[in-house]
Amino acid sequence: MAALASSTNTPDARALLQKAGEAAAKRDPAGMLEALFESRFTDGLSRRLQKQWGNRIPRTELDDCVALAIDAAYDAATRGKGARDLGAWLWKVANNTASDRWTNEYRNRDAYFGGFPEVPAHPHEDATERKASDELAEYRRREALRLAREMLPRIGTGQVVNVMEIVIDAAEQGVPDLPASTVAEALGITEAAARTLVSRGLSRLRREAERAGVQFPEEISETDPTESAEDRS
């Protein structure tokens, strides 16, 4: 284990995160865990999840979210698909896992005074129902991806389409983090351009989807009090 200086700071911790990623790529789970725990990123991640989800999901399950995120990062790295930014990857996967748990397992449970709900409000599906439900979900996902790809020619031409192809591919593959640097590198553009193209592409895709009848949750739609009657007409 690398000897630490008398104190750790974020650059040291960053270097340790990097080291954790390298160890994972070499299929060295022990090395990865050593570096991760030494960096204390795991501590910060645990604290962050606790802050965000602690009043809704039990601590032990939040630890599971951290564990699953680390496992996903390790598995991806051993398959040559390691994260460019391990910290961002771990945060996104852990947070998404917690969000999924809340949505699928806790939100619908009956309120329980004095602790976390233990009994689901709705009983679990049996194996057959679950299989059918999974298949239906997969079908919907494939259809959504097909529609997204179909709409790409409508959002413009050139780089914005190329960028969105990469983003949709990543979403399809379940990649949790797609840094602008990865997109920039793939297309030979600057990071700033990649960021703006992603933002623009997503907005345009949304606009085209709305034109095609997809209804999104409402965003900001407050009436501006300074707007005149003529403006509203």
Binding site: M1, S7, T8, T10, A13, L17, P29, A30, L33, E34, F37, E38, S39, R40, F41, T42, D43, G44, L45, R47, R48, T60, D63, V66, I70, D71, Y74, T78, D85, G87, W91, K92, S99, R140, A144, V160, V167, I168, A170, A171, D177, L178, A193, T196, R200, A209, A212, G213, V214, F216, P217, E218, E219, I220, E222, D224, P225, T226, D231, S233
Partner: protein, 520 residues
């Protein structure tokens, strides 16, 4: 589109946005949080044990015997090694991270006595944004004050410098940026921050309001005043007496006990709340509000919070920045459109990104007007209905070809008139600014004229056809219970219009002025 697929599509888009969201800031915070508040040995051991168990189980399920073997072989040694290392770090002590602006050890700057006035605590402590913050009043040499390179006012300039030179500007360069003597793309004004006029005032009156500095001498408020003092000190146009006035400054300094919240309160209070000084440009304030909005949205468990939740978030931002909630919404919408403007000019027009930012900042109020009228026929609706028209407006805005923001309101008429849009295009191509502005006005006039003509066209035919149709309506059309009956609301509207008709006819004509027996 079937509803369930639509929902799945929305989810897909949300995850695409999520995966491409830049969370480097969050990662940095997590690292810092881990260092500031590490898990206790028991908590860390429990987490580590859980992580090892999960990796081992899943590796087994993936049929990865190598990983299983490594973990089985080294699990105990691994746990004890990690515990030892963490213990050693604890013993060596990380200490609390001191406030440090530049990754350098912070050196306390001590205030001096001047003209017999000794440093003293300000009593009662001043209140910044509802927070009492203890400060000491005293004197400091102007040259010992560090301009604040974290000043949001300079955000675009500093990033632009960083991109050009690959580093932050040093103190002299920062001063040059503030004084407008450093050439940066997109800045046309010679004295963007009004330093010259402020220097003239300070030369005569001295600095009336004490700048506020941190314990290490970094300015929290007063960058313009200190820059103006530097200008006086470095210029030969000021007299010795005037230069003397700028040499020592009375300042307020935070105490070593000040917290980050104290610093935030000082900055927010002095730059968001109204005062008799040059506030941060609206663009900068709106950007800061927008960043806060994005940051808070990212922390939400749902990718798309409900409208009521979004309103709560906007309310909390409003409290944080001493703004009205409507103002927060307005800023958010303005920044969204300004970002679109910048994206267009950078990606489609190959403009320098900072030049585009300067232009967006300069024209920021226009985005407020461009956001108005979201319903059909409104300005914003017209922009979103036609990408080419929006781009045309963005081009004209960039080239400063609208005489003033009031012209924006008339764009809704222009958008519906091909001929007027054609004239706007001529304005875009016109290199002479004055001529181009006249063309913009021509386009607006043309659209207005045609609109009036459109209204007038066929008036007689329309009225005659309507009158004949109305006269032939059967009586049952006015019985409320009949299917398809004329509603009371419509009758009232018609009644109101007929009152107008009476005005146009005049008294002589009412009652069948033509004498053709209308009463019969």
């Amino acid at each position: 589109m079937k509803n369930d697929i639509a929902v799945e599509f929305a989810t897909l888009l949300a995850s695409a946005r999520d995966l491409s969201t830049d969370v480097r800031g969050v990662v940095e915070e997590i690292l810092q949080e881990g260092l500031d508040a590490p898990l206790s040995p028991d908590e860390a051991a429990a987490l580590l044990t859980r992580v090892v168990k999960v990796i081992r189980e899943r590796a087994d399920a993936r049929r990865d015997p190598h990983t299983v073997a490594v973990l089985d072989r080294s699990i105990e040694a691994l746990v004890s090694r990690i515990e030892e290392t963490r213990k050693r770090i604890e013993e060596n002590g990380d200490g609390d991270a001191a406030h440090d602006h530049d990754d350098e050890p912070a050196v306390m700057v001590e205030l001096q006595a001047y003209n017999g006035i000794k440093p003293q605590a300000v009593r009662p402590s001043p209140v910044f944004h509802e927070r009492e913050v203890a400060v000491t009043e005293g004197f400091i040499r102007t040259r010992d004050i560090k301009l604040w390179d974290g000043n949001e006012r300079l955000d675009i300039h500093l990033n632009q410098f960083q991109q050009a030179y690959g580093r932050k500007p040093n103190a002299e360069e920062l001063l040059a940026i503030m004084q407008g003597s450093m050439p940066l793309a997109g800045i046309d004004e010679v004295d963007q921050f009004g330093i010259q006029s402020l220097a003239k005032s300070i030369a005569v009156n001295g600095v009336r309001k004490p700048p506020i500095i941190d314990t290490d001498g970094t300015l929290l408020d007063g960058n313009r005043r200190v820059t103006a003092c530097y200008l006086i000190l470095n210029s030969t146009t000021f007299t010795a007496e005037e230069r003397q006035r700028a040499e020592w400054l009375k300042v307020w300094q935070l105490t070593p006990h000040a917290t980050e919240s104290d610093r935030d309160s000082v900055i927010v209070s002095l730059n968001f709340e109204p005062d008799y000084k040059q506030d941060w440009p609206e663009y900068v304030k709106a950007r800061k509000v927008y960043d806060e909005w994005e940051g808070l949205l990212a922390l939400e468990p749902r990718a798309n919070p409900t409208a009521s939740r979004q309103k709560e978030i906007r309310k909390s931002i409003a409290r944080r920045f001493a703004l009205a909630t409507d103002e927060v919404s307005r800023y958010i919408n303005m920044v969204k459109l300004a970002t679109e403007f910048e994206d267009y000019h950078v990606n489609d027009r190959n403009k320098d990104q900072y030049a585009a930012k300067h232009r967006a900042a300069d024209k920021f109020q226009y985005f407020d007007e461009l956001n108005k009228g979201k319903n059909p026929g409104g300005v914003n609706w017209a922009l979103n209905a036609d990408e080419n028209f929006k781009n045309l407006v963005f081009d004209l805005l960039y080239e400063n070809k609208f005489q003033d923001w009031k012209r924006i309101r008339d764009l809704k008429h222009v958008a519906q008139n091909d001929e007027a849009v054609g004239v706007l295009r001529q304005a875009r191509e016109q290199p002479d600014l004055e001529v181009a502005r006249e063309l913009v006005d021509d386009a607006i006039s043309l659209a207005r004229t045609n609109r009036a003509e459109q209204r007038q066209a066929g008036a007689n035919t329309r009225i005659r056809v309507f009158a004949e149709w109305f006269a032939d309506l059967p009586v049952k059309s006015f019985k409320p219970d009949e299917p398809g009956a004329v509603t009371a609301e419509n009758l009232m509207a018609l009644h109101n219009v007929l009152k107008l008709v009476e005005n146009y006819l005049g008294d002589d004509n009412i009652g069948g002025g033509s004498g053709d027996g209308a009463h019969a």
